[in-house]
């Protein structure tokens, strides 16, 4: 038990474990919709595009969630606009827009270096998270969870068959933007624990792992949240004992769980399909 109790004597470790578990759970829930909708690339784009917003908000003394949200949704609107008005293909436009935003963020950081630490944005800083940041993270998580739980049937239908959703009068355009809103907010929350670069793992991996384990959406959400919370807790503890990057450890545990599932999942694991083919 020492491996668990020793870290808990430090306040910063208790905070880090709680925040990363909460953020992990929220991102895990969202990751189900991201993997089913095929929005992994969009998640990557939005998580990078929020960076200038975070820096500007810090510089202006505003809640960083506000800046991140504005730039996250703004980047997606811009992607949609450029795609519609030009002949360039969507994945190209996504790559182009988010790197542009990210570069703007880098330049801004170098100009307001005194207030923001670049490495904290890029790689997360869950061990040194401030009380005000915890408050914001709590609010963000509450909003995202409420949105996803209340609308989960409609969002699922929106991912599965938008034409049917539209034809029975469900406002698919609104759902699209609500899901993007949830994505921007979750990206900001995820940024706290693992940083801009790795946040896409939080938004994709738990959903992919759960997807290999079940054919039932409700079970999938429970498994995704559980695997994400578990990875976050385990990642923080491993990083404490090995004195290595917290973000790296969290994502590595997540990836490890995915690989295990990929190999051993009862129905969709590759070893299973091997066996059934052999027999």
């Amino acid at each position: 038990m020492i491996w668990l109790l020793e870290p808990l004597r430090h306040d910063f470790m208790v905070r880090a474990l709680l925040v990363s578990a909460l953020v992990g759970g929220v991102c895990g829930l969202l990751s189900c919709f991201m993997t089913l909708k095929g929005w992994a690339l969009m998640g990557d784009a939005v998580s990078h595009a929020v960076m200038p917003g975070v820096v500007l908000a810090y510089a202006l003394g505003l809640p960083f969630a506000l800046g991140a949200f504005a730039f996250g949704v703004g980047s997606v609107a811009l992607i949609g606009f450029v795609k519609q008005k030009s002949r360039v293909k969507e994945d190209t436009v996504i790559g182009l827009v988010f790197t542009g935003f990210f570069a703007a963020g880098l330049v801004l950081v170098s100009k307001v270096r005194s207030t923001v630490d670049l490495t904290h944005i890029l790689f997360g800083n869950v061990l040194g998270i401030a009380a005000s940041e915890i408050q914001q993270t709590l609010v963000i998580c509450a909003v995202v969870v409420a949105l996803l739980l209340l609308l989960r049937r409609d969002l699922l239908l929106f991912c599965f068959d938008p034409t049917h959703a539209r034809s029975i009068g469900i406002p698919t355009g609104l759902l699209h933007y609500l899901l993007l809103t949830a994505l921007s907010l979750a990206a900001v929350a995820g940024l706290q624990s693992v940083g801009v670069i790795l946040v896409v793992a939080m938004l994709v991996t738990p959903g992919a792992t759960a997807y290999l384990l079940t054919d039932n959406f409700d079970v999938m959400t429970v498994l995704a949240v559980a695997s994400s919370v578990l990875s976050s807790l385990a990642g923080v503890l491993v990083s404490y004992w090995t004195d290595s990057s917290t973000a790296g450890c969290i994502v590595l545990v997540q990836t490890g769980l995915f690989l295990l599932t990929f190999l051993l999942a009862p129905r969709y694991g590759i070893l299973k399909s091997h066996r059934s083919r052999a027999s």
Partner: protein, 256 residues
Amino acid sequence: MNRIEASGLCVDYNGVVALHDASLRLPAGCICGLVGMNGAGKSTLFKALTGFLRPSRGQIRVNGLTVARAQREQALAYVPQSEEIDAAFPVSVWDVVMMGRYGHMNPLRIPGRADRAAVRGALERVNLLDLRHRPIGALSGGQRKRTFLARALAQGATVLLLDEPFNGVDVPTERLMADLLLQLRRQGHTVLISSHDLGQVRNLCDRVVLINRTVLAYGTTSEVFTEANLALTFGGGGSGAASLSGPAPSSEESAP
């Protein structure tokens, strides 16, 4: 009353005119075939009718209502082509058919007694009640097609749009669907079927709409299904372009 009424319909798609000045009227209680080549605008017409695309000109009435009102009244059901469905999606037969009831439920979509009864009844009509717990990925193509037809039945729509319903479907499913559509017609429902299988259309449909970027002709099957009209539809002009017995040269529509 006309179930579907479109007049002077124009739909642009990314700057390309997909449909121009298309008009048609379908009365209550008919099965109508929608026949045209790839990219002739079949999918575009469906998308305009379901409200997925907004026409740039012209108007649509479904049961005498605007499309938005018709959506709220659950008047219109869409049965997608098999290729549009992600068969690996983690939902069961029961889940999919229940999606037909969402418009009747409260915003949290918690099914009530009436919703469960409607789903059960619809599944019985397509002979899938025993498979209701099965994930859609574990169904045959025909069973999956029947699942989506059951969704339209559970919705209780009076206008059904079926996109290539007979593509990749086994013979029992084909028979069951044909019987079901005839029942629906007797109950005063109107069914619009897009199909490239001219033989199937001629056997099942009492009306036909021929389209090629606009409505070329519509009316009863015997009136409209002439060699001259079909040549116009498939753009051949010669005798080899299309024949009444076999399928048209094109199979799938890649249009928007």
